[in-house]
Symmetry: D2
Subunit: 180 residues, 4 copies
Amino acid sequence: MIDTLAPEIAASHWFNIDKPLKLSDLRGKVVVIEAFQMLCPGCVAHGLPQASLIAQTFAPDQVQVIGLHTVFEHHEVQGTNAALAAFIHEYRLAFPIAIDTPQQGTPVPQTMAALNLRGTPSLIIIDQEGIIRHNHFGRPDDMAVGAQIMVLIMASQKSVIPGAANVQDSDTCRIDGDCG
Amino acid sequence: MIDTLAPEIAASHWFNIDKPLKLSDLRGKVVVIEAFQMLCPGCVAHGLPQASLIAQTFAPDQVQVIGLHTVFEHHEVQGTNAALAAFIHEYRLAFPIAIDTPQQGTPVPQTMAALNLRGTPSLIIIDQEGIIRHNHFGRPDDMAVGAQIMVLIMASQKSVIPGAANVQDSDTCRIDGDCG
Amino acid sequence: MIDTLAPEIAASHWFNIDKPLKLSDLRGKVVVIEAFQMLCPGCVAHGLPQASLIAQTFAPDQVQVIGLHTVFEHHEVQGTNAALAAFIHEYRLAFPIAIDTPQQGTPVPQTMAALNLRGTPSLIIIDQEGIIRHNHFGRPDDMAVGAQIMVLIMASQKSVIPGAANVQDSDTCRIDGDCG
Amino acid sequence: MIDTLAPEIAASHWFNIDKPLKLSDLRGKVVVIEAFQMLCPGCVAHGLPQASLIAQTFAPDQVQVIGLHTVFEHHEVQGTNAALAAFIHEYRLAFPIAIDTPQQGTPVPQTMAALNLRGTPSLIIIDQEGIIRHNHFGRPDDMAVGAQIMVLIMASQKSVIPGAANVQDSDTCRIDGDCG
């Protein structure tokens, strides 16, 4: 496999961060991109919880998790900032999330096309030099993902011991408050 | 508890059915209403799958499952027909679903207010006379819900034997062989 | 289907109860028999938790849950009172459990043969007259089981409303104490 | 933390391997020991499946998974070779498993005492030099365990890229079609 430099994220908007992230500014960190759509059942059930677990398991100065809202269907519904903002709020997603910029003449947005993704959820793991190392379509298991990320961390530095992580959540939306 | 007649569903739109359902036309059937919001995590993870299971477990001439999209937050995102249509498509929901009609001056829509719901997901079980028998907020377990529905079926008619639903042969040990 | 009277349980020993249960003494109650083996993975993962949930969901004066240890393989390991006693203790099973009496010349014990079971786990539902109504091999879902039991309760009496049930457990065995 | 050399496994018997394993012969590999009891619910539900996943995720020339049956209660039931043999067969455990040798005067067997374990399940991760790096009591999550093992693999050799384990195509949304 020829090394492929990850293309920059073409974002029309960012959430959970004050200024846009540039991959070129993240050299030295492993970058994990979770490409998702808010109406994709597999993204909601598996992809996004896995991305949150990555963010909790690894130190933020070593691994940067980024969500990428790659709308390629139901644009009229999923394709507004307000829709994604509400989704991020209700699902309590805490990592930076970019809206992938739509393109003329194709339903596939710019970054999704540049990454040559097959669909959502996709988990892209990029090393500290910006090279794409893994591009999972579907549901990779947590153990393999943990190992793959650690390979990259260790390839550039040593003696890192990740702590254990636990994710818990509950499940209702009250009239007088938020979901949780 | 005083018997409470279920209020009619004030729907601004229906999906998965050609003409609006009226509870008064459903006398003689148990009616199960799943009140949900498309951005409510507990609805997606538990409430709607349970509603689908009810529709698969009980005969359609005895139990009518109805989804009710009770938007009380994020109206600008969840409150369009197109948004719910895309959600229903992606989550493959097959039972009739109504959009609860918004009200002036309050975020709570009409039917949700009339049913006095505390939030979503809520599962309302209505008997064949239109009386509300159960109003669950949160996540009732499948066994109790199956029993509660069957109480109502049996109270109005007898000798009904539900089929064995979804009996699977995995995780068994056969007399003539190994476990598997 | 011709009505089949459930055969009496041929028990070599009982746990969790002071004196042997006789089905003929349980007329008037629905009786649910969970046939299991302590080394059957599907029994441990699904069958026995479902039996416990039945015991928690329905009133004890209406439904009697009975475990039946039907050893048809690994007799030398599973076939002692001490083995089952330890298993019952560690898995915190609270309902009465009988050891099915072994037979000469066949690995299948007496009651298992009389019930014509295909293997474990099997869930047998017996009505208030002692007639076998359901004989599930494998993993019936909770909703169908809840409905099937309630059919029988309602066929003989009315106005029963089951409460909701929750089962929780944790997962370690400490040196200084019990599992839990 | 002072480096602690893992004590040799004091096995009274081995399963799934022709001759006893010695840790001193496994230098150069990461060794993962799953300490369990066959009647420990958390071992059955979580610990042993995790051990199997480790064996499937990592290459056998880099990581050796070993089960250790550390009976500290119910010795008369769990403490026979036949009992464990039947358990291993029914649960289809494929990695080498040792029976920890009982000690006089204490219910805790020899290796369990030498490892200073608090109970079962415990997951002990040992590096290529034989040093104990992690000693988890309970249920560590798969991602952290995958990362912890890979730290050790990478610390001793570089340029190892683990394959994508168990990537499945369910729960995905394809560009050219629907979600499914």
